[in-house]
Amino acid sequence: MDSTTLLSLIIFTPTVGALFLWAFDRKAEESMRYCALVFTTITFVLTLFLLGEFDRDDPGIQPVLVQVNESDATEYERLEAYHVATEGEVLDGVKLTAGQIVSDGKAYDESQIQRGVVHRWIGQWNINYTLGYDGISVPLVLLTSFVSLLSLLAAWNIKKHVRGFLILFLLLESGMLGVFLSLDFFLFYVFWEVMLLPMYFLIGIWGGPRKEYAAIKFFLYTLVGSVLMLIAMLMVYYDSGQSFDLQYLARVGQGLEDGLSFSPTVQMAAFILLFIGFAIKVPIFPFHTWLPDAHVEAPTPISMILAGVLLKMGGYGILRIAFPLCPEGAAAAAWWLALIGAVSIIYGAFAAMAQTDFKRLVAYSSVSHMGYVLLGIAVWKINEDTGATIGSEYWLMGMNGAMFQMLAHGVSSAGMFFMVGVIYDRVHHRDLNQFGGLMGLMPFYSGLAVGIFFAGLGLPGLCGFIGEVFVVLSTWNFSKPLAIVAAAGVILTAGYILWAIQRVFLGPEYKGPHKEDITPMNGREASIAVVLLVFAIVLGVYPESMFGLMRGSMKLLVDSLEIAMR
């Protein structure tokens, strides 16, 4: 399949599905659900194709295209089989330089090839429809389609305005996939905003008692972030000779384009704007208070999407945009970033401990866990005089750990929210002090739930452990006090999760209302939970499955930022 087609299909299959839903009779709710399921499944399968297409030996953006003829710089075709030359490689007796692309007995310079598919969109303003993927986005794209599929299954018992729900859900999925696949800043921004509206309505219409408050809070918070991002976008747009191309902007930011670069002031300002914009999404203390409200009020499947995917966009934005475009800003702010990352870990854990609402506790645990993501990204230690990076392999490890933590959290927090949703559907309350004894009443559910909560607790063998501990290990090189603070998180995490498990699952009897409604999980619920737990185990036991995908691109990012700072 043509790359443009594949990438566009991935993004727009859910949208097509949303259009399809109009064709159904309003009362054919079950058929509409199946229709939506078919389209999310197709999307998931397409992302698996993408995984097949993805060449993990090439750290750069893919697909790689080459000019059809030398004079025409508009027509490109895809290189099917190629490899990136290593230092000292020889082709037909000619010594190649590292980074050249070798395909079919020919060597191409980076200038002759194009990474990512580009189509003109709004020529006047140099806005393109640019799509592409690398080791950073492929795992997240997979996570998105995977979590969306499971969330849709979890949404089976939504009874209110089913068509509307499904349409918004599918639009949301398109938006999320678009964010992870677009390489044009403007396109990125458009998808970012596309995602926002369905989310607003999904919380505001299908949410709990305080849904309006939560939806507006979510909307306003995110909108502030978007506005800051917009300002930064325009700053770099005008400073780069009017380009939205993220690869080009990154080269400008890193001083690789002749005669063009962002001044340190611009970098600093743009970085702060971008960072706050993304930090709101992550969310990072003190921009996190939308999250508990949004989660508590959102219906279960939307909580799963929120925690499983939406929060990762913040981390992705920092990795894809904030750092590459503004390396100097990033380097200057690294310590502050790490500090608020560490503070988020501890603060989120403390706040989680004081909650009496089960879902709120899980929401605060997200704040704590996402703190590791920021901390891992930020452990960039620089020699102030030379600009050389100290212990770059530890930063690389932190970056990888942060990225892994995003995936792990995507699985574990989606699972935790789902588990809370399952019990909420039965007893219609979430008061931690009114549970107890579920282990006896729903043994299978409790077993799976405890397993997934252990993944959140960071138990070895489950996914949460790897991300957290890799980040923490890499932090000592950067700052000893912050490393100690972050490591202290393990005690608090154990505290609030075990305490919650004790109050909900253990004990002799259930203390709350609707005891008669407590029934075992049905097949649909059980399969969602089992799949999530299995993935938590696979990621925890064999983390190399994900590190293998992201390693090259992470290394490229770290190396290029290091070079930019020298």
Binding site: Y394, L473, E509
Partner: protein, 827 residues
């Protein structure tokens, strides 16, 4: 790797993974078994761990060089370590994290010990847990709100699946080839312990104890992680062994920190300069040195009183070793081989080193993990509460294996510990063994006495390792595992026999009802007290295992005190505690089995346990008697010596060789010199403790109640466990909850408060905006409109519909226009 070595690896891997496989099947036992009365899952668990034992024992037989073990030469040839990698967890440039294996004689010994004891305990549990083999189990300890007892289906299979998971984790911990992997399995045994302590999930006390165990352990693990961070950042590897990355040789941790020969700091307090060191870097360890001669002379003196097999070892490594420090003693240089070649950066030629204080931080950090896991002071409070778990769990997890893992790690990681860290270990062990023993005197719950005794014995092991008796500490680990699991199982037999009565004051005279239990318990009691007939009969002392190992520890601490007079407490406290140990252990035995029955109901219903429970008791008592046969020339001690870090033999010195901070580790032969002396001291202490217990609880010359009354303050203090729990409640738990509430309050009050304030202000501004719109702008527009309207209205009167009038207006208008034209443009 030879075929034999790879076979050993395969055997151990099988022994390690079989219980995991068992767990994966057993945990679903509720589904695939026909009823809760089925024992299939349990039998599967027994089979898994039994096969594991066979595999481990075969590996042990295969792996060690028997001639070296039983012969008279040095024990370092007993086994070459086997190491390798299972698979990678992550790889970041030169940083590699992986699952490895490191197999030496200690690993093989631990594998065999763990699987053997676990097999016995699994079999015992078949009997002990049999009241779970029902579809309607009544838990009499749980009272429901309606006044009844709690009913549930039996959970026989679940117990065994958790036990299997535990065995897998424990064996993984022992097999681990890097410290990170140790940490991974460290956490896993922790969670298994959590699951097993909280096995009776309905009991609030059980789930609270489980939480406490895990969280307190996490406090220790917090330190462990700090240690890991230091090691990771300073050494760049977690592996114990030398290995290759991309065919480039990379030294392991133990090689990097390998000792160099000290400039015999004992004798002339002279430091070798760094430059001299480099010249010196080639000298092999076994080379003859003048100080070696000196030691040799001492050796001959010792020879008379000591068996011949030992001194050869001492002779071989009689050099004092120390860390490779610089002149200022601020950094420790890292080595790339065992000959002391320093690692140098190829470009800058700077030698790779770690600051000395960081090495101490790393050591203390990792040891903090051991403090948590081995329930050492100040984190000892979780272990007594952990007795909420079923008794087989207490026997396996909380006495023989998991809690000993802390000691195992301290032993395994010994080369990384600077002398200062060893001193910390020694003092922590010393405090722990005393505190726990004192509490054991007043405890009345039979399992709690054993729990405190476990803590105290773990303290002994730590002390042994801390004072340089590496093999002595681990020796005690092995012997203790046998006799303590024996005693726990015996107490389990008593508890079942007495229908779940654990209070000793309600027992008494039970030996008539349960002779096998009473007898095997007595074996354990004698072993732990270290009673023996200290004369050689047929060339060997008549002594149970505990005598040999405790003797070795006391001898090490005596030698340590001789070398460091200031640390005299490290000898006297354990000596006194040896007496206390004998006292509370015999108190337990007399209380339970001797005398007259104190509670007729309990006594009348008491019965001996079935064979499935007594046979494990007999097997374990066999090992409790014979495992350490031969003492320090026996095979067990020899096996341990096969894994002993090379610098232990000659003793080691701390960095500072002068002043109060000087620490000198006793050499092997220094320990040997005092061995006989220490043995007598320990024996006298133990015998007096035992006699005292006999007087109080055996023949009751003095009524213990009188003593209790006279020392009621002390008694209360001890019953309240030195009030650690209250202290921690005030110091940690309450503040954490306060901060947690404060955080939530901050979110709601300040962050959201600010947002709400902002949004209110926005609304206010909008309102004002609206008012401005309505009043000012709209007012203006309206006014204009009104004026226009009004004027239009007034002009309306002009519109009369009379043609003449209109013509007149037009004429007047034209006239006016012409006048204006001429006025404005006169030309």
């Amino acid at each position: 790797m030879t075929a034999e070595e790879s076979l050993i690896v395969k055997l151990l891997t099988a022994a390690w993974l079989l219980p995991l496989l068992g767990f994966a099947v057993e945990v679903f036992g509720g589904y695939w078994q026909k009823s809760r009365k089925s024992k299939a899952a349990a039998l599967m668990a027994v089979a898994c761990i039994g096969c594991g034992f066979v595999a481990s024992a075969s590996a042990l037989c295969l792996g060690i060089e028997w001639s070296a073990l039983l012969g008279e030469g040095t024990k370092h040839d007993v086994m070459e370590p086997i190491s390798g990698t299972f698979y990678l967890l992550g790889e970041f440039g030169p940083l590699v994290l992986s699952l490895d294996y490191y197999i030496d004689s200690l690993t093989l010994l631990m594998f065999t010990m763990v699987t053997l004891i676990a097999t016995c305990i699994h079999v015992f549990a078949l009997g002990y847990m049999s009241d779970e083999l029902t579809d309607d189990h009544v838990d009499h300890e749980v009272h429901l709100s309606d006044g009844g007892h709690f009913h549930r289906p039996g959970r026989f299979y679940r117990f065994f699946s958790f036990m299997s998971l535990f065995c897998f984790s424990m064996l993984g911990l022992v097999l681990a080839g890097n410290i990170f992997q140790v940490f991974v399995f460290w956490e896993l045994v922790g969670i298994c312990s959590y699951l097993l302590i909280g096995f009776y999930v309905e009991r609030k006390s059980a789930s609270t104890a489980a939480n406490k165990a895990f969280i307190v352990n996490r406090v220790g693990d917090f330190g462990f992680i700090i240690g890991l961070m230091v090691i990771w950042t300073s050494f760049g590897t977690f592996r114990f062994f030398d290995h290759e990355i991309d065919t480039k040789p990379v030294p392991g941790l133990f090689t990097m920190i390998s000792r160099v020969e000290a400039e015999d700091a004992h004798h002339d307090e002279k430091h070798k300069s760094s430059a001299e060191h480099e010249k010196d870097e080639e000298h092999p360890e076994g080379e003859e040195h003048p100080e070696g001669e000196e030691h040799h002379n001492g050796e001959e003196k010792a020879e008379e009183s000591h068996p011949a097999g030992e001194h050869a070892t001492a002779e071989h490594h009689a050099h004092t070793m120390q860390l490779d420090v610089d002149d200022a003693r601020s950094v420790v240089f890292l080595h790339k081989d065992n000959k002391g070649t320093r690692i140098a950066d190829p470009v800058t030629e700077t030698e790779k080193s770690i600051p000395y204080w960081l090495l101490i931080v790393a050591g203390v950090g990792v040891f903090a993990g051991c403090i948590g896991k081995s329930a050492q002071f100040p984190l000892q409070t979780w272990l007594p509460d952990a007795m909420e778990g079923p008794t087989p769990v207490s026997a396996l997890v909380h006495s023989a294996t998991m809690v000993a893992a802390g000691v195992y790690l301290a032993g395994r990681f010994y080369p990384m510990f600077a002398p200062e860290v060893l001193l910390v270990i020694a003092y922590i062990g010393c405090i722990t063994l005393f505190v726990a023993a004192t509490i054991a005197i007043v405890a009345t719950d039979i399992k709690r006495v054993l729990a405190y005794s476990t803590i105290s014995q773990l303290g002994y092991m730590m002390l042994g390792i801390g004072v340089g008796g590496w093999a002595a500490g681990l020796f005690h680990l092995i012997t203790h595992a046998f006799f303590k699991s024996l005693m726990f199982l015996a107490s389990g037999s008593v508890i079942v026999g007495c229908h779940h009565e654990q209070e000793m004051p309600k027992m008494g005279g039970l030996w008539r009802k349960m002779p096998v239990t009473a007898f095997t318990m007595l074996v354990g009691v004698i072993a732990i007290c270290g009673l023996a007939i200290p004369f050689s009969i047929f060339g060997a002392k008549i002594a149970f295992s505990g005598y040999h190992s405790k003797d070795a520890i006391v001898a090490s601490s005596l030698a340590f005190m001789n070398a460091n007079q200031i640390h005299f407490l490290l000898f006297f406290v354990p000596l006194v505690t040896a007496g206390i140990t004998a006292f509370y252990m015999f108190r337990l035995w007399f209380y339970t089995f001797a005398g007259t029955p104190r509670d007729k109901k309990v006594y009348d219903h008491a019965r001996e346990s079935p064979l499935v429970m007594t046979i494990p008791l007999i097997v374990l008592s066999f090992f409790a008697i014979f495992v350490a046969v031969g003492g320090e020339v026996g095979p067990l001690y020899g096996l341990l010596q096969g894994s002993e870090p090379v610098h232990v033999d000659g003793g080691a010195v701390s960095v500072a060789t002068e002043g109060a901070t000087a620490i000198t580790m006793p050499s092997r032969h220094a320990i040997h010199d005092v061995h006989g002396q220490a043995g007598w001291y320990a024996l006298i202490a133990a015998v007096s403790g035992a006699v005292f217990a006999y007087l109080l609880y055996g023949i009751r010359v003095i009524d213990p109640a009188d003593i209790k009354r006279n020392f009621s303050g002390v008694h209360t203090f001890l019953v309240e466990k030195w009030r650690f729990d209250d202290l921690y409640e005030v110091m940690f738990i309450k503040p954490v909850h306060v901060i947690a509430r404060w955080c939530t309050g901050f979110d709601r009050g300040y962050i959201d408060g600010l947002l709400h304030w902002l949004s209110r202000k926005t609304v206010d501004v909008s309102n004002w905006d609206r008012k401005f719109d309505e009043n000012v702008i709209d007012g203006l527009v309206n006014w204009i409109g009104k004026v226009v309207y009004k004027s239009g209205r007034s002009l309306r009167h002009l519109q009369t519909g009379l043609i003449r009038q209109y013509v007149m207006f037009i004429a007047l208008g034209v006239l006016a226009l012409f006048v204006l034209l001429f006025v404005m443009f006169p030309a």
